[in-house]
Point group: C2
Chain length 245, copies 2
């Protein structure tokens, strides 16, 4: 029986991948993941077997990862950011637990620097108080539930982080979310947009709730919307923790 | 003019600290942080000046960090987990921006593996869907606001992560939160409690919303409460992403 390790490789640069993650990749003989992520760790791959995108869909790919582990391989499934946040940790575990206990390979989840933390660091300190993380992708979640969550997060005055804010096919969702948030948050609430944090093509924009959807946003962007105390000063977006200064 | 770097050192083990964070600590000549965090990185300190707990409170300590940077030092302010989540990034930036632009030292924020991601990895994959992060410490936040946020997060069916769930002086807050959550979530909702993730004394408990406050919880614990789809199987707490399996 082999082993399966689900690894958060961090936001992009190898400088932001933990030693635990790196060693697990180096030790594995088989690597499974999207081609985009595989490319980020290309320098670590050597002669390893690689199961990438295109060959098959997510469920098939994770099923194959499990099968390889059952066959005695040391398999690393890689996700960008943290594998436990909209990553592969859940799917691998779900599939694993459908197998009979006797034939389940060992599993380990290795956390990574999450995309939201990397984006926040680039913006300054927008997450310094209670925050909510919401994905706008409705491929696996009903759109009505996503809108409901956005409304409750806004009413709770959470800092709100949006994953998958927009894709080529899905351009109107972010406008709908903006309108929902504007019911509860003022138009001048700071909004940060970060694309490719720590990668070569990193870009950062600071806007506000009224105007942010006019900026360039795509599926690689992460959007962070402030709470009622968040402010912008210099190039930084700052949510106060509450110290009296 | 020196430099100030605010560094998320990760959940505890050096194996979970990024190379970028480690190099910044090694390069700095002055280290600022709680003694507990300083101890975690003891092996990296060498002959560096250390400004730790006990000497002064958070605001004074960050002010001193800024002064040292203004005096030409390369100062590293360390926070456990990610410095941007209830850490020192916000306070340092707030103080920095109160200074005149001409005398502000350069600042960099280096993200780390956040405590919530480390705890989630130990539990399995509880954060796989939209989640909210709430601190129960009312030192800097009105208790009424914290309760309000918990109620909205529950109504939005978010996975809910609680930081600072309990301290020696604050033992009833977690009971109040449990009662609020029980208005919207069933008593058998899975709850994970992780203490010291990745550290030598790591402990993990899986319980449910009805019973979890009977378990050992302290200020070093992180509590993760599932959404309506979260389940426990084997030793794992899993929130499905939504794939049809």
């Amino acid at each position: 029986m082999g082993k399966i390790t689900v690894i958060g490789i961090g936001p992009g640069s190898l400088e932001d991948m933990t030693p635990r993650a790196r060693k697990a990749i180096e030790k594995a003989d088989t690597i499974v993941g999207y081609n985009t992520y595989i490319k980020l760790i290309e320098s670590l791959l050597g002669e390893k077997a690689v199961i990438g995108t295109g060959m098959m869909q997510e469920i098939d790919r994770c099923t194959m990862a499990l099968r390889e582990a059952c066959d005695g391989h040391d398999v690393a499934v890689v996700s960008s950011g943290d594998a436990g946040v909209y990553g592969m940790a859940g799917l691998v575990l779900e599939l694993l637990m459908q197998e009979q206990p006797a034939i389940r390979p060992k599993i380990e989840i290795i956390p990574g620097v999450s995309a939201v933390n990397a984006a926040a660091a680039v913006l300054g300190a927008p997450l310094m108080h209670d925050f909510a993380v919401i994905s706008l992708s409705d491929l696996l979640t009903p759109w009505e539930l996503i809108k409901k969550r956005a409304a409750f997060a806004a009413q709770g005055d959470f800092v709100i982080s949006l994953y998958n804010p927009k894709s080529r096919k899905r351009v109107e969702h972010i406008e709908e979310i903006r309108e929902i948030l504007l019911k509860y948050k003022p138009g001048n609430t700071p909004v940060g947009i970060v694309r490719g944090a720590t990668r070569d093509d990193e870009s950062v924009t600071i806007s506000d709730l009224e105007n942010f959807t006019k900026e360039k946003i795509d599926m690689f962007s992460l959007v962070i919307i402030g709470n009622s105390n968040t402010y912008v000063k210099g190039n930084f977006m700052i949510t106060p923790r509450g110290y009296k200064l």
